[in-house]
């Protein structure tokens, strides 16, 4: 009722169906695969009563760098939930997502770690899981008995046991629902400089790994349905157990789920077998998710390069396991939200398209998320809002009875609150609060890039982003790579602004400082004419009006903007300002009085941190909020009828 009382007017209709992506690429030479550095072959056996996974398998690792390697680093991420001495629990950052202490703790215990082949050796004994006084057990150091030369391959044989935590930070169990992520001993990535990019499981950080192949056999009770990374190449039920083998190349992680209540929707979309797994009662949400994927796979494919995998699995966890939702793994994403999500609030679509977008940024680009989280979450948030805006119009976040709020607006307004706190481009663990992390990495990056899109145009920005995602597909790009492509396509000014905005807390505020308008007159004063002194107290009217508009720019960023002058009859005329310098004075002369002026009337500079000062009136004009008065009065009447009839 309140919303109905507040509701406004019609908004432009949302785009119908999958629209054109705006920019075309020749994808004939698009990379179809990554350099295969690792090969995992594993078997996982789930005990859904004890909530344990017994794992066995091998990792093949090839040293693709030019440097000799003397050791390995293995991530044992599940130990983040082992006790309160893990880095994950110790880090005093709240305010972003997830709980910190699970209701039921989890762990991963390495039972066997052997080097196989000619140099066979037991590696477990010398493996250092803890480091000095630090009792975190998520980042294990494994000295090698013999240096690994460039180009050489080794194979590790492993046995391990997982105790899954109650659902926490994207993994765990809730009743018979199991989501199994970060569950196996996982090699850190060996960067091209020969150094291991290894790190403990931070509360805010995500992951970074080498590409390779995963061949995983999952063994669960027969009553359970499995969803997993990659296509199922074998599937059988025997002795009361369901066994599925999933194989996928060109990926860098593997996750799976098992639940005895999964229901499913299936559809082939743009050549991809899409499966939505959802609990009973969530059919509407699942259909909305499928509709989102139906739009997004071809759209993202055109914009950022074709989706290269044969399958995509969308997992909607039950509401009581909601912490497992909103996460990405190769070819598998988790969404979330209650089963009754109102259609006017596009939370389900937003989460789905966001997690799907990660397939391109986290999945195929695979930048170091611990060190540069904005390269994944930030760029993906931009892609998400751009796609949602293209699909659903100005109501891409909320669209209810004429009240529309776009995802871009949500990201911008959220990010304003942290714009001056910390730089965007910094490691995940360096953020002082989870709120800053969320608002800056997601919201601020999105707002910066959306500003570039609006200022330089959708074609140029589409070309820049598409060039970046294609050129660095499967190549682990860094911020330098990203800025380089932006500069190459959008120009050095855009690159410079991007660098300042990302690394130096760049900001901008345009404001209309003053508007003057008066009747045009001959000059007054004392004049010496024809040998005589003449005093003119008030100049003769010349007809028409004159005045000026003073526009100021504050902050360290600058973008070209329009300045719109509005005349007394409501007509407008626009003047372009390059945005350089701290201010500009726009002169006016014309037959009508100047009523007011607006800088950046189309809101191209979404980064403008105080858009409410972008307009000004001439002294004769009066500020008005009649429509607000009418709407709030009506709302108050409805409220009074309800509470004080």
């Amino acid at each position: 009722v309140v919303a109905a009382a507040c509701a406004g007017e019609s908004s432009p209709a949302a785009a119908d169906g999958a629209p054109d992506a705006g920019v075309a690429f020749d994808d004939a030479g698009l990379a179809t695969g990554a350099e295969q550095v690792v090969a995992y072959k594993m078997k996982a056996t789930l005990d859904p009563v004890a909530h344990t996974v017994h794992g066995e398998g091998t990792i093949s690792f090839t040293n693709k760098t030019a440097y000799t390697v003397n050791d390995l680093w293995l991530h044992l991420y599940l130990n983040a939930f082992k006790n309160q001495k893990s880095v994950f629990v110790r880090e005093p950052v709240g305010g972003f997502r997830g709980s910190i202490n699970p209701r039921d703790w989890g762990s991963i215990d390495l039972r066997k770690l052997r080097l196989t082949g000619a140099d066979e050796a037991d590696l477990l004994e010398k493996t250092e899981i803890k480091h000095g006084a630090d009792e975190d057990e998520t980042d294990a150091h494994v000295p090698l008995p013999k240096p690994l030369q460039p180009g050489e391959t080794i194979q590790l044989e492993m046995v391990w046991d997982d105790k899954l935590p109650s659902v926490v930070e994207r993994t765990g169990y809730e009743g018979s629902f199991h989501f199994v992520g970060q569950w196996f001993p996982k090699l850190a990535r060996l960067d091209p400089d020969g150094r291991w990019a290894h790190f403990p499981f931070h509360h805010l950080a995500e992951f970074y790994s080498d590409f390779g192949s995963y061949d995983v056999t999952i063994d669960v009770p027969a009553a359970y349905t499995i969803g997993a990374t990659g296509p199922a190449t074998e599937s059988k039920v025997e002795n009361g157990r369901r066994v599925e083998r999933h194989v996928q190349e060109n990926i860098h992680d593997f996750a799976w789920t098992a639940f005895d209540k999964w229901q499913r929707l299936e559809e082939k979309i743009d050549g991809v077998d899409v499966t939505v797994l959802y609990p009973p009662g969530y059919g509407d949400a699942a259909r909305r998710e499928l509709a989102t994927v139906r739009f997004a796979i071809p759209y993202y494919g055109k914009r950022y390069g074709k989706y290269p995998y044969p399958v995509l699995t969308v997992v909607h966890p039950p509401e009581r396991a909601r912490e497992a939702g909103g996460m990405e793994y190769p070819t598998l994403i988790t969404t979330g939200g209650p089963w009754y999500g109102p259609p006017g609030v596009l939370a389900i679509e937003l989460v789905t398209i966001h997690e799907l977008g990660h397939q391109w940024f986290y999945g195929m680009l695979a930048s170091n998320e611990e060190k540069w989280p904005f390269l994944d979450e930030g760029l993906n948030s931009f892609a998400e809002q751009e796609a949602l805006g293209r699909w659903r119009g100005p109501g891409s976040l909320v669209d209810f009875l004429g009240l529309t709020v776009s995802d871009a607006t949500g990201q911008a307004v959220s990010s304003f609150r942290a714009a001056h706190n910390e730089p965007v481009a910094q490691p995940a663990y360096a953020f002082e609060t989870g709120n800053d992390y969320g608002r800056l990495v997601y919201g601020r990056t999105c707002t910066i890039l959306e500003t570039l899109r609006r200022v330089y145009g959708d074609d140029a920005m589409g070309k820049a982003m598409g060039t970046y995602t294609r050129r660095f597909r499967f190549k682990h790009p860094t911020p330098t790579d990203f800025l380089g492509v932006m500069g190459e396509v959008l120009g050095p000014h855009a690159e410079s602004m991007l660098r300042v905005a990302l690394f130096e807390k760049g900001w901008v505020d345009y404001a209309v400082a003053s508007v003057t308008s008066r009747k045009a007159r001959e000059p007054a004063g004392i004049f010496d004419r024809d040998g005589k002194r003449e005093t003119v107290t008030e100049g003769k009217e010349r007809g028409g009006y004159e005045g000026d508009v003073l526009v100021q720019r504050r902050g360290t960023l600058s973008f070209p903007v329009d300045i719109e002058l509005t005349l007394s009859d409501g007509s407008t005329r626009r003047v372009r300002w390059d945005g350089e310098g701290e201010s500009v004075r726009v002169p006016y002369a014309g037959p009508l009085a100047l009523r007011g002026a607006v800088v950046d009337p189309d809101h191209t500079v979404l980064l403008d941190e105080r858009p409410s000062n972008n307009q000004g009136l001439a002294p004769e004009a009066t500020a008005r909020a009649t429509r607000t008065l009418e709407r709030i009065t009506y709302f108050s009447q409805v409220l009074l009828q309800a509470v004080a009839p």
């Binding site: 109905a4 307004v413 909020a625 429509r627 009447q637």
Partner: protein, 306 residues
């Protein structure tokens, strides 16, 4: 007005004879016979709402109202200005506290026009015309203490019922989560809450009937409450339905108004005036429905011995 039968004179000492209030026959107590009182009640709500809205609109005028087209940006698709003004905390605390204070003050002061409306619904002048406003307010003032006590008592009961309903619904949902799927567990929980909500609504219905009893019999809060319970006891469902269908009709009217505004839009000042007019028609209709229910409640207590 021939069917208005003045029965026992209940107002013995008015200042002017023409202002004396006579009780109407039960069947003659109808909201449609008091159009001016309905207008007055609607105006009271409009003025009170304006008192709440004015500072908020002034705040908007001072922040976003300097656009050459006024506060148009707040209603633009995409919601940038609307979100900006909602998310910036400057000035919000003051506006919120003002709105709360005015709302509470209106809730208390509103007992007077409410009492006057109830009086007008059940009474007439000796010449069988509508009772004068001043006399209605004098009667309302006499019952103000009873109305205030009823407001506190019944308001608290309603809050307790709703809170208990929320807790019960959450507990029921949680206890069923592992035995049935989320949707079914939620639906059962919502049903539990709906039962409590209906119970709270029933408390509100009794509250209104008690208000009518306080006017009708000039009784205190507790006596009026006892009369109301006696009046409702024979047919609690029927009485609640009398209130409910009018409330639902009011909601339909608000929804319809919102839909029409949504379709028509507000492109200029003419449209804005039309929208304002439509909204006020909707509120007038709401007021009429409310008065219709109060007349029904008055008839109910009139037929019940105090």
């Amino acid at each position: 007005v021939n069917d208005i039968v003045a029965v026992p004179e209940v107002d013995a000492s008015p200042r002017h004879a023409k202002d004396r209030l006579l009780l109407m026959s039960t069947d003659a107590m109808r909201a449609r016979r008091r159009p001016l009182m309905l207008l007055f009640t609607w105006m009271w709500h409009a003025v009170a709402a304006l008192a709440i809205a004015w500072p908020i609109a002034s705040f908007v005028r001072d922040t976003w109202g300097h656009h050459p087209r006024g506060d148009v940006l707040l209603f633009e698709p995409g919601g940038l200005a609307l979100s900006d003004i909602a998310m910036r905390p400057e000035g919000h605390a003051g506006l919120l506290s003002h709105a709360t204070v005015v709302l509470v003050a209106c809730a208390v002061l509103g007992l007077l026009p409410l009492g006057a409306l109830i009086t007008a619904l059940g009474h007439a002048r000796p010449d069988r015309g509508a009772p004068p406003l001043r006399a209605c307010f004098e009667r309302a003032a006499e019952s103000f203490g009873a109305f205030a006590r009823l407001l506190v008592i019944m308001g608290l009961v309603q809050v307790v019922v709703v809170v208990l309903g929320s807790i019960a619904a959450a507990m029921v949902s949680a206890s069923l989560e592992h035995r049935m799927d989320d949707a079914a567990a939620d639906l059962v929980g919502w049903f539990v809450f709906l039962v409590f909500l209906l119970l709270a609504s029933f408390v509100g219905v009794v509250h209104d009937v008690a208000r009518c009893a306080a006017i009708r019999y000039r009784s205190g809060a507790l006596a009026a409450l006892r009369t109301a319970l006696r009046a409702v006891r024979p047919s609690p469902v029927g009485v609640t339905w009398s209130w409910l269908w009018r409330t639902l009709a009011g909601l339909v009217v608000i929804g319809a108004a919102a839909f029409v505004v949504h379709r028509v839009g507000v492109r200029d000042d003419m449209h804005l005036a039309a929208v304002a007019g439509l909204h006020q028609v909707a509120m007038l209709f709401q007021t009429a429905l409310r008065a219709s229910w109060l007349a029904r409640a008055f008839r109910l207590v009139d037929a019940t011995n105090a």
